[in-house]
């Protein structure tokens, strides 16, 4: 299904009345931008509908082949975006080469005709897809001869790193600068005493770029049901495996024999020399005990195959009302011609075919399990030791069921993260597993020991157990989501409740944003960039609408901070909600600064501060940071954006109108404090933020007047709440809001300058260390905005980050620019209705005639906005794809760093 919005994905898969086996989502790369010009490559719309851009439909080939390819581990960590782009280009070149070889094959040797006709080759159409599931590259082939697809798949499976280096010369440099590659290489050379070459070609030039492929064959509906078979050519060998209901077997054996006795349509021919290429997850099918070349079953013409297959379905299934046959699987092999480009690939692999990660990860696995309990080791900073885990958490009374579950969780994690075919899917969870490990093996036992010295209980209490269990549950969920379809083997039906499969890459993208936020905390507040066990934060997909954070409070937060974000799936696709990941990460920053005494409130000690006042100050602090990152000094952009986010969240959907008014007023007051601070003080990179706001906030009547103006100006974003006469836009509500403001502001006033100072100082510290020491803030922002605008205008993801040329810098600043430009596109017109009008009784949409509506309408409880304008919807989708792909690239960079740190620590320890 080709759609211009993410919304229908759920609609189409959830409403299917039959079992959903699998869902694959794909973004569509523009062929021209990849420099692919050959006529056989067509956009997906053309391949599926036979429709050119002018809308003309032509006769289409009736056989379809869909192949999914998984990029190699080294290509996935560090610079996946570049590798994927280069892989698309190489795949296209390979396919062109195969087509040209096939033409030569037919022309030079007419006796080979039974395998191919020249016409089959010229009719073939190919589309390239950027898959969002486990595999990253998809190839869709429409042809009248399956062997063309088999040839294409075989050639693409043989793509090597050297092929990639040819199409993108800078890839080598990017590998040399990638920590993941250089550390793996160092480690490998240490293990094998191989000499080190600086040129990646010498090491992995002949390595294959794809880990596995998975192919599916299909027949167009009309070809199958209406027997439009004339156009088909080529050969197929098929073996049916039928599952028959108990007691029905003998009857069916008889029917089977009768059915094929009469058949004379099957033709077996002597084909020219070929290989037997099995389709599906596996590649070779041979009867045990026979030579590989022996045919397990004869090849028959594709037309006869379709006829025979229809016969099985029609006669064997239909005759006894479907009660005989309860399952049908077929193994299909295709004849693979011996064409030139495949003959070249059949030789021996030389020294440049090196299983780099296989050796390195294997060694890493040993270190997880070796008994080093009690032995001080640098490796303990970054590695998990299974024996230590098992022995330590017995001591403080963690219930046995939870303990065992946690042990199982770590066992699964360790075996998968050291598996060269799977490790990259879990690298982004490493910090969380490591921090949790530190909590369980070190910090909790230590704290409970101190408790026992103070004559308190030395076992963990119920609240503590609940928190540990909740966190274990969150990382289990995250692990399962990543592993759901990570195996190359057989896949069960898609039983996902939160979402259907095929979203692995989107999960990585969202997680990268969260990691950027946590990186800010690590670097700016904790000053411990490389202490991976200091913070463990993950996002957990949840049924609960919206985004909310849960932080563990176990009394050890000075040393290890654990938390998880609950995110509903719709938010994963909505880049505007990525800003909330930052918001939640900034809460961690506030908590940390408050805990370690960097933020001390005036007038009352921390313990005396009421929780409401503390929460308000914490929210305002977070908004200040969020504001300066996302919108700079420009409140005109930030405040409406936040009010829109509030307005379409479930927070405003209270049953009680008074509650809605109180909630709205609270949000308005907090945002006013932020906006008012930005009106008074300008953050400049060269000036320390010493603003006291003394005069600006001294005159309370003046401040109230400013709030009144702010309220009136922004009421438009929430005034559609409630139905008349109970509407937010009423005098009573204003009175309530203004009175509340006066009281709340008086409480907050003494501490506002303190949080302003800390938040802005944290931001400036980030800029100086992570972005640039020299350029002014305005120049930096202008540069980042320019990159972001260009990217979103052309729907081109940002692959290299011009502001952060040094590989290990936090890309948060640039990411914020992308989100800022995206926010501008979502800005609403004040003079038109902003909310999707729904009937309060039925929830159905009721547009009122004569009313003016924005094109992108807020819809309470929906993650994204409703858009009924095709062009704007398509543009929004283009931008969403662009941001998701940018974040996916970042995720690859971050996972690369994790792998490098992991290897480096082990390396140190062994020296």
């Amino acid at each position: 299904v080709i759609v211009d919005d993410f919304d229908p994905i759920h609609h189409l898969s959830a409403q299917s009345r039959t079992t959903v086996e699998q869902v694959s989502l794909a973004f569509l790369p523009n062929l021209q931008s990849l420099g692919i010009a050959a006529a056989l490559f067509v956009p997906l719309r053309q391949l599926l509908l036979g429709e050119s851009k002018s809308g003309v439909r032509g006769e289409m080939p009736g056989l379809l082949t869909f192949t999914k390819l998984k990029l190699d581990g080294l290509a996935c960590v560090g610079g996946a975006a570049r590798f994927q782009e280069a892989a698309f280009k190489v795949v296209a070149r390979k396919i062109e080469a195969v087509i040209s070889d096939l033409l030569n094959y037919v022309k030079k040797n007419p006796e080979r005709y039974p395998l191919f006709a020249e016409r089959d080759i010229s009719e073939c159409l190919v589309s390239l897809l950027d898959l969002q599931g486990t595999e990253e590259i998809g190839i869709l082939i429409r042809a009248n001869n399956y062997s063309i697809a088999a040839s294409i798949i075989a050639a693409v499976q043989h793509v090597t790193y050297d092929d990639l280096f040819v199409v993108d010369a800078e890839l080598k440099q990017s590998l040399i600068h990638s920590d993941a590659y250089t550390e793996s290489l160092l480690r490998y050379c240490k293990l094998t005493t191989q000499p080190i070459s600086e040129d990646p070609s010498d090491i992995i030039g002949d390595n294959h770029v794809f880990r596995w492929s998975n192919s599916v064959l299909a027949v167009a509906e009309d070809v199958y049901l209406d027997e439009k078979l004339e156009q088909l050519s080529g050969y197929v060998s098929a073996q049916a495996e039928l599952r028959i209901a108990c007691g029905h077997q003998v009857r069916l054996y008889k029917r089977w024999e009768d059915a094929w006795k009469e058949s004379d349509s099957i033709s077996s021919k002597d084909l020219p020399k070929h290989h037997r290429c099995l389709i599906g997850n596996n590649d070779l099918f041979a009867a045990i005990g026979t030579p590989l070349a022996a045919d397990a079953s004869p090849f028959i013409h594709a037309r006869d195959f379709i006829v025979a297959h229809r016969k099985i379905v029609r006669d064997l299934v239909g005759d006894h009302k479907g009660r005989d046959v309860v399952g049908l699987d077929t193994r299909i092999s295709l004849p693979l011609p011996e064409i030139q480009c495949l003959i070249k690939s059949s030789g021996e692999f030389g020294d440049r075919h090196c299983a780099l990660l296989c050796r390195v990860l294997g060694a890493l696995k040993e270190s997880f399990y070796e008994a080093s309990e009690g032995k001080p080791s640098k490796r303990e900073l970054v590695a998990i030791n299974y024996a230590t885990l098992v022995n330590s958490h017995r001591a403080y009374g963690l219930p046995v069921a939870l303990r065992r579950s946690i042990e199982n969780l770590y066992q699964i994690f360790v075996t998968f993260i050291t598996n060269p075919l799977l490790f990259d899917c879990l690298l982004d969870l490493y910090d969380s597993f490591l921090s949790f490990y530190r909590l369980l093996t070190k910090e909790l036992p230590h704290r409970l020991k101190l408790d026992s010295l103070n004559n308190r209980f030395s076992t963990i209490d119920e609240r503590g157990i609940q928190q540990v269990a909740a966190y274990a549950d969150a990382i289990k969920e995250a692990l399962e989501q990543r592993m759901e379809s990570a195996h190359a083997g057989a896949r069960p039906n898609d039983m996902g409740v939160l979402f259907r499969g095929g979203l692995a890459q989107v999960i990585f993208a969202g997680d990268a944003v969260l990691k950027c936020g946590v990186g800010f905390l690590r670097k700016v507040v904790l000053n411990s960039r490389n202490d991976l066990s200091a913070v463990g934060v993950i996002s957990q997909s949840s049924l609960m609408p919206g985004i909310r954070s849960h932080l563990l409070r176990l009394g050890v937060e000075k040393r290890v901070r654990l938390g998880f974000l609950e995110v509903d799936v719709a938010h994963l696709f909505t880049p505007a909600s990525f800003t909330e990941y930052f918001h939640e990460a900034f809460h961690l920053v506030f908590d940390e600064a408050f805990r370690n005494g960097e933020i001390k409130f005036k007038g009352s000690s921390a313990s005396e501060a009421s929780s409401v006042r503390h929460e308000r100050l914490s929210e305002i602090y977070v908004h200040i940071l969020h504001h300066v990152f996302l919108a700079g000094q420009d409140s005109k952009q930030y405040i409406p954006f936040q009010l829109c986010r509030f307005s379409d969240s479930v927070r405003c959907s209270t049953k009680d109108f008074h509650e809605t008014v109180m909630e709205t007023t609270e949000v308005m007051i907090r945002l006013f404090c932020v906006s008012d601070a930005f009106s008074a003080s300008r953050i400049n990179q060269s000036i320390e933020p010493e603003q006291s706001f003394g005069e600006w906030w001294d005159d309370e009547s003046e401040v109230l007047n400013r709030f009144k103006l702010f309220f009136e100006e922004h009421l438009v974003y929430v005034k559609e709440f409630g139905e008349a006469p109970h509407n937010v836009n009423s005098p009573a509500v204003r009175r309530f809001a203004f009175e509340s403001f006066a009281e709340i502001f008086r409480q907050l006033k003494p501490d506002l300058p303190i949080i302003w100072k800390h938040a802005t100082a944290a931001f400036l510290k980030f800029l100086r260390t992570e972005v640039s020491l020299e350029e002014s803030l305005d120049d930096l922002r202008a540069k980042a905005d320019c990159v972001a605008r260009d990217s979103l205008k052309t729907f081109t993801p940002v692959v290299t980050h011009p502001l952060q040329v040094k590989g290990d810098k936090n890309p948060m600043f640039l990411l914020c620019s992308l989100l800022r430009v995206y926010m501008e596109e979502l800005a609403l017109d004040n003079s038109r209705a902003m909310h999707l009008p729904r009937d309060p009784e039925t929830g159905s949409i009721r547009f009122k005639k004569g009313h003016l509506y924005n094109y992108l309408l807020l819809d309470r409880g929906a993650a994204g906005r409703f858009c009924s304008h095709p062009e704007i919807r398509a543009r929004r989708l283009g931008m969403q794809v662009c941001i998701l792909k940018t974040c996916w690239g970042l995720s690859s960079v971050m996972r690369g760093r994790r792998l490098a740190l992991l290897e480096r620590a082990q390396f140190f320890d062994q020296n």
């Binding site: 299904v1 189409l12 599926l48 379809l64 599916v216 049908l328 547009f847 009924s868």
Partner: protein, 94 residues
């Protein structure tokens, strides 16, 4: 690499044709059960696009806004495990 302003979704569905006999004895042919699944899928997609079209009809905001939206059923490919190991029907509608 530039991206198009549309995304593709591929659904692999189990037509449950082997179980039809026990569920609905009126379906006497596997082919009939199968073609019913195709019809259902097409209807589902049309329903979604139809809903969007209805919104557009409702939304008489300004002249020129209402643009034709593609409501088009493209090919559904029969796959049904017989033709490999995944699913029984693959839907690629346009």
């Amino acid at each position: 690499m530039v991206y198009e302003q549309e995304v593709a979704l591929c659904l692999a569905l189990d037509a449950e044709w082997t179980r039809r006999g026990t569920v609905d004895s009126n379906k006497t042919s596997g082919l009939e059960a199968f073609s019913e699944v195709f019809d259902h899928l097409r209807a589902e997609c049309d329903k979604y696009f139809g809903r969007v079209k209805q919104y557009l009809d409702d939304l008489e905001i300004a002249s020129g806004l209402r643009q034709s939206i593609r409501i088009d059923s493209g090919p559904i490919f029969s796959n049904r495990r017989a033709l490999s190991s995944l699913g029984e029907a693959i839907v690629w509608l346009g």
